[in-house]
């Protein structure tokens, strides 16, 4: 990862709030306030060409919202997300968005739900091709679909079957083939393996790795599975309650985590070397993102919490090209 190279994806102060206010009449009559879920708060990250950036965190921490914003399923409330130098958050019309949509695709979590049960695999994989008209003519489209299916390790005959005739792993291969159909440069993978059997997960991850090498893809990997992160990611961002606590190289995250939340996450990893060692269980529940704690959002559960943590949101600090947001880490230095 050369630092002088411009990143393919660059998010700055990316924020998304969801309006969950009660209806207007209720607000007026019952004197209720407007309410927002702060799903994503001021997130920064870069993804270089050919690298895999993993976003990890507990469920509800906003990592999926980040993914959905990047592919255009949600609009960011504020902040910018640049793709290849263009801020796609500013694109208003569908037409402007379209040319970027072709270049970034998404793989969904549940391959049982992400494929239309009424369509044959041929139509499913051909859909983006037809939508963008990247290949013209029925024969050419068919040939392209066959090639894609072979690329993801399926047979040509599979094109004429329905999704329900496949196993979960095979379905995810179909979903990957569909995502690759428009020759994207950037693929957002939203928990691509968490709906699969453990035995199949590795196959899919290896397939993703192979395709990345062959096609020069960049991945944004959304997951809560640290084993998956360790296997495939080159850099990791750790999210907690909509905030990015830490982002660093995978090796740094696993060997020398800086943020206390990252440390706690790693504690949950079972490994042979910690046999006999007492585990520190993570205390408390995740607070509601509708009403996040003051100051650092992690302070109620943080073993290093200080007075300042309750008052002031820690600022992001660059450590080389890595980043951490924690008062305790700052104080330690």
């Amino acid at each position: 990862m050369s630092s002088d190279n411009k990143p393919l994806v660059r998010a700055r102060n990316l924020t998304r709030h969801f309006d969950v206010s009660p209806p207007f009449l209720n607000r007026v009559l019952e004197g209720k306030q407007r309410q927002f879920v702060k799903a994503v708060e001021n997130i920064d990250f870069d993804i270089a060409r050919g690298e895999t950036f993993a976003l990890v965190g507990e469920s509800g921490c906003g990592k999926t919202t980040v993914a959905r914003m990047l592919v255009g399923l949600e609009r960011p409330t504020s902040g910018s997300m640049e793709f290849d130098g263009t801020d796609i958050a500013l694109l208003k019309t569908r037409r402007e968005m379209r040319q970027y949509r072709r270049r970034m695709q998404m793989i969904f979590q549940d391959p049982y739900a992400s494929l239309n049960p009424r369509w044959r695999v041929m139509s499913i994989v051909a859909e983006p091709i037809r939508s963008f008209g990247t290949v013209k003519g029925n024969d050419a489209v068919r040939a392209r679909v066959f090639k894609l299916l072979r690329q993801v390790g399926l047979g040509e005959d599979d094109a004429y079957n329905y999704p329900h005739e496949f196993s979960g792993g095979q379905r995810q291969r179909i979903a990957i083939a569909r995502a690759l159909a428009t020759r994207p440069e950037f693929v957002v993978c939203d928990e691509p393996t968490s709906a699969l059997d453990v035995s199949v997960q590795a196959q899919i991850l290896n397939l993703m790795k192979r395709l990345q090498k062959e096609l020069g893809l960049s991945y944004l990997l959304i997951t809560h599975d640290l084993a998956v992160v360790h296997h495939i990611a080159s850099r990791v961002g750790v999210m907690y309650l909509g905030h990015l606590c830490e982002s660093a190289d995978t090796r740094t995250i696993f060997s020398a985590p800086r943020h206390p939340y990252t440390k706690l996450l790693l504690e949950t990893l079972p490994d042979l070397s910690m046999q006999g060692r007492q585990r520190v269980p993570m205390a408390g529940e995740v607070p509601s993102p509708m009403n996040p704690p003051s100051g650092c959002v992690f302070h109620p559960r943080c073993p290093y919490a200080m007075e300042i943590c309750k008052k002031k949101l820690p600022e992001r600090q660059n450590v080389g090209h890595e980043l951490v947001a924690c008062h305790a880490y700052q104080a330690e230095k």
Binding site: L73, R101, M106, F108, L115, N116, P128, A175, R178
Partner: protein
Amino acid sequence: MSTHKHSNGMAVSPLTPGRRRWLRFKQNRRGYFSLLVFSVFFALSLGAEFISNDKPVLVIYQDHYYFPLFRAYPETTFGGVFATETDYKDPYFQELMEASGGRAFFPINRHRYDTINFDLAVPVPSPPTRDNLLGTDDRGRDVLARLLYGFRLSVLFGLGLTIVGTATGILFGAIQGYFGGKTDLFFQRFIEIWGSMPELYLLIIFASIFKPSLLLLLVLLSLFSWMGLSDYVRAEFLKGRNMDYVKAARALGVSNPVIMFRHLLPNGMTPVITFLPFRVSAAILALTSLDFLGLGVPPSTPSLGELLAQGKANIEAWWLSLSTFLVLVGTLMLLIFIGEALREAFDPRRR
């Protein structure tokens, strides 16, 4: 259908959902036979001109073939006197034929819906005879012919109204369900207002302002017939738009209309198809009741409702009310049996 083996209802791989439903529909013998019987009657009624008409289908005259159904021939063609169109029921025509050795082939029933039988022995409405198998109405027109043509008109009208209403309902429901939010809210309030308009009074008012015609009726009834369906389609779309494969399609950059009508609609067609026969029967019933009240089709159009009204006015002429009653009940019952079988075939709980 025949290329597929049907291994006791199990969903073996190559069965598409549509085919599986068709097989399940066929398993319901009552519904399946109702569909067959209804189709046969409807097909027959489509060819009503060949079954019941006052013109011969074919005339062979001096080694020439004539088709009076499709062309008007003056009497002079067959050696008559006048240059006006031949009256094939006139005994004079038969004399001409006999004199020249020509032959005329008439349909089974020699009456059109508007042919008036002037040779009746008794005052109208006259009871069934060999000539008028189901008797005549109070203007001397053949009841069988009027039933046949009336059945055709009712079914065609029912289908037309159903198609228009279903298409409108799908469109509105799809827009509401897919876009949701403010669009949904606006349309829903509009439907509430529209739905609270008194349909029958509007029809009566319009019937008194405009010259009654089938098209006017179709338009007026269509204005109101789509509302029930749009709710179901809306619900299906609301459910469907959160499916992952719809999100996937949106993320892939597929356009909204394509997602709506290629992804969502096929999966939301269940209520549409299930309701189709019931809607046709409701439309037929609506037309019949309006005709019965005299607000429907223009006079002399063959209509079941008008026949029923005549039956009510001439209560002693049992052949009027009884035959019309049987045709109407038969039609509606067949449609309802078909509808029930369809509903069962589409029931997701019955796999």
